[in-house]
């Protein structure tokens, strides 16, 4: 019996992240191809993008293995930009 705690998984963690990013991108595209619109749809699409950016920053760029300062800069930028985009969108909702 192999008790090595560091034995690689069948699918690498980075490959799982890549697959998740591909699925989320296809979801965004599918939403774009429908006639759906409105605040809930906008929040879903923007929220998906925020999750994808965090996945790239933490897992592809390797920020999840660095001090909070570095992750915080990217996360702070992301939350500020996405919040301002949301505010701008909500200004148009009657």
């Amino acid at each position: 019996m192999d008790n090595n705690p560091h034995k690689p998984h069948f699918i690498r963690p980075c490959t799982r992240i890549w697959l998740a990013l591909m699925i989320l991108t296809c979801t965004t595209y599918a939403i774009g191809e429908t006639a759906w619109s409105g605040t809930a749809v906008m929040l879903a699409v923007l929220g998906t993008a925020v999750i994808k950016v965090q996945m790239v920053a933490n897992y592809f760029m390797g920020l999840r293995r660095t001090r909070w300062l570095w992750r915080g800069i990217v996360l702070g930028w992301l939350l500020l930009v996405s919040s301002l985009i949301t505010v701008a969108y909500l200004m148009t909702v009657k």
């Binding site: 690689p8 980075c14 890549w18 296809c26 965004t28 993008a49 592809f60």
Partner: protein
């Protein structure tokens, strides 16, 4: 970068690669962030115009380009993992594959630009197209710069310039390339999908 070794569980004081590239990355994020927010507030004052103009964009090519850039970024994760194991040839091949997908992105984008310009659309057509063309051309130039950086890293990797102990250059190039991917991940839904 992700790998399956014990060292991947350590917390590092600085991000992967040369620290200087990270200040450059943060400056780029700031510039694009201002651009994204400016687009959103410009849209708030011209909702009908933006929604109508957006319908003429090729959303399919935008989505394919997102998949292409994400996959290219994934190839660079594999390149870094390879060089951390001292596999220079494998690292070179992953970088070459990442650059190849960079060319695919550029080709698809050029077809899209050709369609737009053939329809007589330019920066001065309306506010939406001013933002669309400015943002995508600005990003397009970053893709080219990223490919140049990756090509330089690939040539050095091919000549055995990196090793399991010394691979900062590969991580530096990969970090920049991931940023190019990250920016497109926001640009695509913002300009092509949200209405």
């Amino acid at each position: 970068m992700l790998n399956n070794t014990k060292t991947s569980h350590e917390i590092h004081a600085t991000p992967p690669g040369d620290l200087a590239i990270w200040f450059f990355i943060f400056a780029e994020l700031l510039a694009f962030g201002v651009f994204f927010v400016a687009y959103a507030f410009a849209r708030a004052h011209n909702v009908e115009l933006f929604n109508e103009s957006q319908q003429h964009l090729n959303r399919t090519s935008g989505a394919i380009n997102t998949l292409v850039l994400i996959t290219s970024s994934y190839f660079m994760v594999r390149a870094v993992a390879a060089i951390k194991q001292g596999l220079s040839n494998l690292c070179t091949q992953w970088i070459a594959a990442a650059i190849g997908l960079g060319f695919v992105f550029l080709a698809i984008k050029m077809v899209e630009f050709h369609e737009i310009f053939s329809a007589g659309i330019s920066l001065s057509t309306n506010t939406f197209y001013m933002f669309y063309l400015s943002l995508t051309i600005f990003h397009f130039m970053h893709v080219i710069l990223g490919m140049v950086i990756l090509a330089a890293v690939m040539l050095k990797a091919k000549s055995g310039g990196y090793s399991a102990e010394n691979h900062t250059g590969v991580e530096t190039g990969a970090s920049y390339w991931h940023m190019v991917d990250l920016l497109w991940i926001i640009l695509f839904p913002l300009v092509y999908v949200i209405r």
